[in-house]
Symmetry: C3
Subunit: 268 residues, 3 copies
């Protein structure tokens, strides 16, 4: 899709030029890796979670990343305080519902954040995203999803019900705002062997949301960029240790022109 | 030891096939590295510590890793809640008593966890393990340990008193259940220059405990595998930054056949 | 400066020989990287923050590193408890006021730590350091700083007012105790693309403070060593992922002789 390829290149150039501040309230496991991913691509990460600091910090941010990976009630409260402030000032928020569906605390916390703040984008894998359905959702259950068409239709309905953009990542990523859907097929199998790859995709969307007013194109182009970084890394590394380092290198080294040429986004 | 070499190969293959979920309640410093170690070897790591989540999470796990590295009373409580649940459902628990003996809080917390949960294996260095002795222990003090024989005898007595398997790691690792003892001599000197190497050895034992019902062979073969990863990494890297990355590569790349050939376990 | 080059070489050799224990109460993002930096250079890192453990832990330490990067009131309290104990026993303390000036919590917390403990060195960038001024400071505001001379004069006055050594890092680092000033020009531009580079510079100063009784020479030689590691890394890596690994390698590999030759410290 020619126009989205150009958009991707422009967005990457804008991140590097504007160096948006991305405020992260995230899990302990990935803090270092996602901070390095943001720095490498040209953004400015900050991690801050104190109840008495997050409103002030988010007021300076271009986007807010909420990630429930090693959550406690106390951290969820931080996320909601920051999320409400971000919602008030119309700062885009991206939620990564890590492990939603696996435990009650995670599912309930993700839903609570969605209810109490204005989330622009939710990024997760299919099971995490499907766990966010309301009781009275009109989506079909996972057992009724037999094809790409079913999955897309389900995602569209759920995005409409949650009033947000959904980014369901996997071998092919799906991005939908409820009306239309885009598919992003950049990526590499080794991405599944590095912890925090999904979380790093999320912060990349955060950086692109900070400089692209259209959250659909921001999300799709961010995923194409991140997936292309995986492809570039996969050409240099054949095992996950080296691969995770080459991912960081690629986020720094990929040029806007290279992204325009390598971007694999198509309308669904 | 031919049979343990074959067992090691079979265990590694089983980890990669079954991808056991390993629940970690561990220290902030090593969370990322140990998650990446588990992913690289083929297991599925999850980090979760909320009091109101750990029982549910551990119910899905094949093993529970408890590591007191950056402990507080609150985190020790999480470990005990999770550990009791794991004990009930007979999920193997491995304890890493990081720094036990160095401060009262660490020694007392390690002992408390041992008393209140059913620990399958404790892995630590010699001073950490010796700090776990009861007041009325029949082991000789550290000043009376003058030889490998003394050390082995002390470890056996202590394992019997603590009713657990002890894995005392160092240039040569000692594994004992109180009755017999195995020595594992895989490893590399650069392992001492990377933070979380001991903790990563612990999670490797966790992964092997999840697929091998015999905790002695699980522990010894896990240490042989982890030590061999150090040897492979040491052939490629001569300084700790590259070495820690090559360790992760090796955990992914070493084949069961390669482990069978490289495994250095002997009966004591 | 011949004598400081020799001092740098001697300090590096002393860190490797004495392996000082460095107690860190620091932020979640950089714990792993700074622990690895300390291990690579030859020091012994420990991270411990429990209120009921820090006094005992710091009593064994050669230096205490306080870093407010992901602070909460609870962690600041840990820092003050540890800092008071360190002050009593005259263990050198180095403060890294991450983000001071960005939020009220950070600025107030940094000032509180300075007031309630005896800080030997504060390391930060110019805006962090300037945020620490008292209301009645005689320093000129940032808008009045137009030259290297102005900056040096301001730093000297502020160091005198805060009764500590200031290490203001950037393309060229400035170290002053209020009376005299040194400039350190080792470093590499990619250091700005890796999270925790500043924090790792801070722990390097911590390690050198533990073995050099003169905190001015400890600070300047530590920054020269750390900057030289950046230069060596920059010869091997051209993107931040590989660069951060090569930094760790360099901290391990640089010899005292190499540091003597590469050290760029000059009196101001």
């Amino acid at each position: 899709m020619e126009s989205l390829s150009k958009k991707a290149a422009g967005n990457l150039a804008a991140v590097r030029e504007k160096k948006p501040l991305i405020h992260n309230i995230t899990n302990y496991v990935v803090m270092n890796y996602t901070a390095n991913a943001l720095l490498a691509m040209g953004a400015s990460p900050v991690m801050a979670h104190a109840h008495n600091e997050v409103e002030e910090m988010v007021s300076y941010a271009g986007a807010l990343v909420l990630n429930i990976g090693t959550l406690t009630d106390d951290w969820i409260e931080s996320m909601i305080i920051a999320g409400r402030k971000a919602s008030e000032q119309k700062t885009p928020i991206i939620l990564d519902p890590v492990g939603s569906g696996a435990t009650t605390l995670r599912t309930d916390s993700a839903k609570k954040i969605i209810e109490q703040t204005n989330i622009a984008v939710i990024r997760g894998n299919a099971s995490e995203i499907l766990s966010l359905r309301h009781k009275d959702s009109k989506t079909k259950g996972v057992d009724s999803i037999h094809s790409v068409e079913d999955a897309t239709e389900t995602a569209k309905i759920l995005a409409g019900e949650l009033k947000t953009i959904l980014a369901i990542t996997g071998p092919v990523d799906l991005v939908t705002n409820g009306d239309s859907a885009l598919r992003v097929s950049n990526g590499h199998p080794l991405m599944g062997y590095v912890t925090g790859t999904g979380c790093a995709a999320t912060v990349t969307i955060g950086a692109f949301l900070a400089i692209d007013e259209n959250p659909v194109s921001a999300t799709a182009t961010a995923l194409a960029f991140f997936g292309l970084a995986g492809e570039v890394a996969g050409e240099k590394a054949s095992a996950p240790g080296s691969f995770m380092i080459e991912m960081v290198n690629a986020l720094y080294s990929i040029s806007p022109e290279q992204l325009k040429d390598g971007c694999k986004i198509q309308e669904n």
